[in-house]
């Protein structure tokens, strides 16, 4: 028997090596009856155990999703203007069957809208990282700069992201750079603050090592500051990307163009509620993926 012929039924016996080492089974047993029942083999036992663990891990979230869908159906049943899960699913299948069509600037596939939004977030967030992380390092390293910047940051940080939009429109004249500006200004703070906190929390021991060895500023940065602060930087980056993705939908609703936020607004004008609900899920899932991706990155760089 080769693995090529494996089916779910015989896979277990292949893997358990049952027919590779037919030792204690006597030849008297007829060929078709040679198998021990699937679930009594080692593999079967492990399979049941694994299945149990799997169910334990999957059941609670699955239950949550089911409850959510039930509640949603209930609401959809009482309020006819809101489509239920089944209807929305059908609409989503249709929508994602052709995500990259292009019927002029006001009618593009969902794929284009997502990519456009990601592009804006990438630009605004990238600029924020390019400025925010070095700024955070400097604020953390120099007490004077820290005291100088602290009142400005304290005042600007709690400002609602969209309050920055008029300034952006005024200075930059166009909607596209204005929305990127909003992303930039609202996602820069977590990176500045976390990086600065990381630098300030470097154990004195490490700095003493640097001093005893008389390391150059460059070596101090590459061998001590940077690796010690990296986990903090990544926390800042993770928070920032969450904020950026949160803000882009609102910014695009106001500025228009191609993007998931504007698409939501457009579908509202078309009264296509199913699409609005789909957009909510799309925004949520893309945000989740962005954050999980950065979590993986952060794990890769944690040294403890």
């Amino acid at each position: 028997m080769s693995a090529v012929n494996a089916t779910p039924e015989n896979l277990s016996t292949i893997l358990s090596g049952e027919d590779i080492v037919p030792t204690y089974k006597t030849a008297a047993v007829a060929a078709p009856a040679r198998r021990t029942p699937l679930l009594e083999t080692d593999f079967g036992k492990r399979f049941i155990e694994g299945l149990g663990d799997f169910l334990k891990a999957v059941a609670p979230p699955l239950l949550g999703i089911l409850l959510f869908a039930a509640l949603w159906s209930l609401i959809a049943n009482t309020n006819k203007s809101i489509p239920g899960p089944v209807e929305t699913w059908a609409s989503a299948v249709e929508l994602f069957s052709d995500p990259f069509y292009d019927n002029g600037p006001n009618d593009k596939g969902i794929g284009w809208n997502i990519l456009n939004s990601l592009y804006r977030v990438g630009l605004g967030f990238g600029a924020a990282a390019a400025i925010g992380i070095p700024l955070g390092f400097m604020i953390g390293r120099f007490q004077f700069l820290n005291q100088m910047m602290s009142p400005i940051i304290s005042i600007l940080r709690p400002v609602s992201p969209l309050a920055w939009l008029p300034i952006g429109l005024l200075v930059l004249q166009k909607a596209e750079p204005a929305s990127i500006w909003v992303i930039f200004i609202s996602s820069i703070w977590p990176m500045v603050l976390n990086t600065a906190a990381g630098v300030q929390r470097i154990p004195q021991d490490y700095m003493n090592v640097a001093r005893v060895l008389n390391l150059s500023e460059l070596k101090v940065f590459t061998r001590i500051l940077f690796p010690a602060v990296l986990p903090y930087v990544l926390t800042g980056v993770r928070l920032s990307i969450g904020v950026a993705w949160l803000v882009i939908v609102a910014a695009e609703m106001l500025t228009g163009g191609v993007g998931i936020g504007f698409w939501v607004w457009d579908e509202w004008n078309n009264l296509n509620v199913a699409h609005i609900i789909i957009a909510i899920f799309v925004v949520g899932i893309v945000g989740l993926l962005l954050e999980q991706g950065l979590m993986l990155l952060a794990k890769r760089f944690s040294y403890e």
Binding site: N208, R211, L213, N214, L215, P227, A228
Partner: protein, 265 residues
């Protein structure tokens, strides 16, 4: 013979939020080349502060510290420090931690291959060749401390400064590392100043024991010469009346004349 390390009228006053705190006052100590000095005293007596003054991590508010007739200003690799809690960089392997020091001190004059050979040699000296490529998180506390010692030794310092190097280790590991340190110091003829709160460690390892009075405003109370012949053997010393005599002199100083401030009050 000219003293190698000279500490003259050194005082250390810290400015804290509650006002000035005098940690050390009028400390005078001369250390000869190749000598092993133990600083002992109750916690808070400023023995680590004194070590940090020699290391240059702190600047004395008063007085002068000299090493080989040069004033000590700031830290430098000619004074190798082994920190209380090993202070290895957790993102570098044992080898890289030591190499960082080697590269700094000898990078200007030697090739990469020579630097690597130096690093390997010193890791072998502390018996860690097998763990060279492990991260600090992957090795035991005793091994970490040995890497710390290797890093300090690798710089071929004029003075080796040890700040309670074995304080955080269990008794057996500590004894083992003490024996190793004795061998290494004998082989490298290092000048050593070690802070400790362990009386046996002080008597076993040092040539002179500097006993410090209680803080604040601590100073040197008494200096005891340990004229036990070297090489010293832990087991033989256990039956040596001279060893017990020295040991009780230190205990006498610590627990009779310098009661802990709390207990005295």
């Amino acid at each position: 013979m000219q003293s190698y390390v000279q500490i003259e009228n050194a005082s250390m006053v810290f400015s804290t939020k509650k006002g000035k705190f005098t940690a050390l006052t009028d400390v005078n100590l001369n250390v000869n080349q190749g000598e092993f000095i133990a600083l002992i005293g109750h916690s808070g007596c400023g023995k680590s502060t004194l070590l940090n003054l020699v290391a240059g991590l702190l600047d004395a508010t008063d007085g002068v510290l000299l090493l080989a007739n040069k004033e000590i200003k700031g830290p430098g690799p000619e004074r190798g420090v082994v920190f209380q809690n090993h202070s290895l960089l957790p993102w570098l392997t044992a080898f890289e931690n030591v190499y960082l020091a080697v590269e700094k001190v000898f990078g200007g004059s030697e090739t990469k291959a020579q630097l690597k050979a130096r690093t390997s040699a010193v890791l072998e000296l502390v018996g860690l060749t097998h763990a060279a490529n492990k991260l600090p998180g992957e090795i035991s506390g005793g091994m970490k401390q040995r890497v710390g010692i290797a890093r300090a030794l690798a710089m071929e310092p004029k003075v080796l400064l040890l700040d309670e190097p074995f304080g955080a280790l269990d008794a057996l590991t500590r004894a083992h590392l003490q024996d190793e340190l004795m061998k290494i110091v004998a082989a490298t003829k290092s000048t050593v100043i070690m802070v400790t709160h362990d009386v046996d460690e002080a008597v076993l390892l040092s040539d002179r024991i500097v006993m410090m009075t209680n803080g604040p405003a601590a100073t040197i109370g008494e200096i005891l010469s340990v004229d036990l012949p070297r090489p010293r053997e832990r087991l033989q010393l256990a039956h040596d009346p001279k060893y017990h005599e020295l040991r009780s002199q230190v205990l006498e100083f610590l627990y009779s004349r310098q009661m802990r401030p709390k207990e005295a009050a």
